[in-house]
């Protein structure tokens, strides 16, 4: 399927996307240039089934011709009708998507072909698993409950990080019959789950602080210093791996951004927690009263503030909120431009949501006068919204 000329100038390679992403880091969150430009999403050219292209500059190709327009029948295997068995095959495949075997295979695939963040995440996970098993065994043998509880906490964290890794690996799959938009949502989902876990952690730290406030059992924290220090070191390695994402407020260009950000916040929060425990021990040894309560409270509040923006952003994606990067003024401008056309009576509804950050889907329903050429209207509407960054658009024209 031919893609429009307007996309020829961008062939995102992995490196280029990393570099331009890094360059773009200097821009503030509210930089409107990015909201409108076509570079807003690097994934556009990579997904052949996403259409968008209305090439208004090329006079030779007829508009909306099959070879050019978005509304083209993709020649891929997705939409051929006589492959009904393919559907059942793929349906079964998708149903087993979360089976253990596919999980193991995806791990092997990562080792071979992952991008560098996936490899780093894999290293981190193995470190964490090794450390937490060691802690569990030592705790069981020496009978220290604190070590065991810490090991459990780490294991939960590892489980989540493994889910993130799995999401990264699976999101590269092409869309199929059952998951018609693709698998990238998994990354937003894993970001949300990480954020949720961190919120739980902050809440449980607050409860622990309350507990320590009520009952004075501050002594048992002393011999966890070694474990806390090792924990801190392991997590700081993780923060170093993902140092690009160590911010609280981040502009998300694509799905991976959200996932990496969540992983970074996870290890950051863990290291803050370990640092807090070390601080509490030190203060206690200095004789400060209620040091533990203070430190736990501080850590809890810090983690909460850290995680909130990510939680809200990923929650917004999952709730199908209107894309935050497209300002409402732009949308109302489009609305006015469409209604200003002479054949359009009114716009009945226009809804937009983001599949992943950067991939906006919309459905617009307009009422037109009878007998008008819907082709020009369609092409106008598509072009207008495409400039805003809406990839998949379905426009329903009802005659009045």
């Amino acid at each position: 399927m031919e893609k429009s000329d307007s996309f020829k100038y961008y062939q995102p390679s992995e490196k280029e996307s990393q570099n331009s992403w890094n360059a773009g880091f200097g821009l503030s969150v509210s930089d409107r240039r990015l909201a409108f430009s076509r570079q807003a999403s690097f994934d556009q050219a990579r997904e052949p089934h996403t259409p968008v292209s209305i090439n208004l500059n090329d006079p030779e190709k007829p508009l909306l011709a099959r070879s050019v327009s978005s509304i083209d029948i993709p020649t891929g295997p997705f939409y051929s009708l006589d492959e009904s068995n393919k559907y059942s095959g793929e349906g079964n495949g998708s149903a087993q998507k979360f089976s253990f075997l596919s999980f193991v295979f995806s791990i092997l695939r990562i080792m071979r072909s992952g991008n560098r963040y996936m490899k780093r995440l894999f290293v981190m996970i193995s470190l964490n698993v090794a450390y937490s098993t060691a802690e569990l065994v030592i705790g069981l043998f020496t009978g220290r409950v604190g070590l065991v509880s810490d090991a459990f906490h780490l294991t939960f964290g590892c489980g989540l990080l493994t889910f993130s890794l799995f999401a990264m690996a699976t999101s590269r799959k092409q869309p199929d019959r059952v998951y018609t938009y693709g698998y990238k949502r998994l990354e937003a989902l894993s970001a949300f789950t990480n954020a949720l876990f961190l919120l739980f952690m902050s809440f449980s730290l607050a409860v622990e602080g309350l507990h320590a406030f009520i009952q004075d059992e501050s002594e048992h924290k002393h011999y966890l210093i070694v474990s806390a220090v090792t924990n801190l070191l392991v997590n700081l390695i993780g923060v170093w791996f993902f140092r690009n994402y160590a911010r609280i407020n981040l502009v998300y260009r694509n799905a991976e951004d959200m996932n990496y950000h969540s992983v970074c916040l996870h290890v950051l929060a863990d290291s803050i927690r370990s640092a807090g425990l070390i601080l509490a021990s030190w203060l206690l040894s200095l004789g400060v009263q209620n040091a533990e309560v203070l430190c736990l409270g501080l850590v809890s509040v810090a983690v909460f503030m850290l995680v909130m923006p990510l939680f809200k952003a990923s929650g917004g994606i999952l709730l199908q909120m209107a894309p935050p990067r497209i300002p409402t003024s732009a949308l109302s401008k489009c609305w006015r431009q469409i209604t200003a056309r002479e054949d359009v009576v009114e716009i009945a509804q226009a809804r937009f949501w983001e599949f992943v950050p950067g991939h906006v889907v919309g459905s617009v329903s307009i009422q037109v006068k009878k007998g008008m050429d819907d082709r020009t209207t369609l092409q106008f509407v598509h072009g207008l919204y495409h400039d805003l960054g809406v990839q998949n658009l379905t426009v329903q024209t009802d005659d009045v």
């Binding site: 329903s365 998949n392 379905t394």
Partner: protein, 414 residues
Amino acid sequence: MIHEAMEVQNSKHGHIIEVCGDVPAVGTSLGGRRICGEAACGFSDAKTSSKDANERSASMRKLLIAVILCVIFMSVEVVGGIKANSLAILTDAAHLLSDVAAFAISLFSLWASGWEATPHQSYGFFRIEILGALVSIQMIWLLAGILVYEAIARIINDTGEVQGFLMFVVAAFGLVVNIAMALLLGHDHGHGGHGHGHGDHGHSHGGHDEMHNHGITITTHHLPHHHHHEAKHDDEHYHAHEADHTEPLLKTCSEGEMKSIDAAKQKKQRNINVQGAYLHVLGDSIQSVGVMIGGAIIWYKPEWKIIDLICTLAFSAIVLGTTIRMLRNILEVLMESTPREIDATKLEKGLCEMHEVVAIHELHIWAITVGKVLLACHVIIKREADADMVLNKVIDYIRREYNISHVTIQIERQ
């Protein structure tokens, strides 16, 4: 000609008799039903939103009762624990607190999903249900982990045999409480809610009933509903077609959303939040059973501590297993996948069989929440066909066959 929709509830028999059905709640054009009046219309026809509200208030009532019961039991346990100075009782009170938290999340999600749609949330807030259910399930997993940790901690710190007996009693109490709440939440036969049929009407299986001919021919039938009853699907599909043919004048009535409340009760197992709360309570009872067994064993033979751990592990695994199915449903909705009950290939084939349609592409079917499905696709028609007629045909076909009412179709000519 716009017919008015009337729902007459015959509370004696508990059925809904519906007289005709073109819902004038939206624009006055002939294609009224496919265009919503406002820009940010959620899923608001008059009929579905009132049905939703009924369902929602019934579920909220159940959950509210459960929360109140929980709080009462919890305070009893806290008082008893402080008096007896026992950590075990206080721990169990903490578990009940987590139950309360789970119910609170479900209640909030239920309440929030009824909010009006805004320009920022153009589809309404129905997704909050799903996210709330996800959070509940995460909590279940977290609690299972905590229980396993406690079992291990019990092994490490052994403080005497009195532990066993106390554990047993406390767990038994917790079990009774949880079973009471499971009955409350799972009891589906419509106490609370307006004139819902009593238990005997609950499960009328398929087919249609022709009833109470009042001069206007009225049909109450159960449309082919697609949710969780795959075995009966074809059967009811066939019956619905029969109903269509026998009432040609009321054709527009019998299409679309003519679900009686009985059908709604029968097709939705439970609202997903109530289901999540139910799972939570069920998981707790299973784990109470495990702790009881562990306590009994420790009481009887304090040396066999390891059995307590094995028990806890086994029961935690069982609990996690019960959540898998709901988790899968949630995941599928959140990933915007084609809902299980809709066969996309068949839909495409059916559409392409129409004369004017050349091809379909960019077909996306996805669910806002379990039960509310949307569809978007591009249809290519022959050059000389009448676009508006084809649009109507396609929309009616989809609405009739698959009961998807929120569709957006882009018609293009070849």
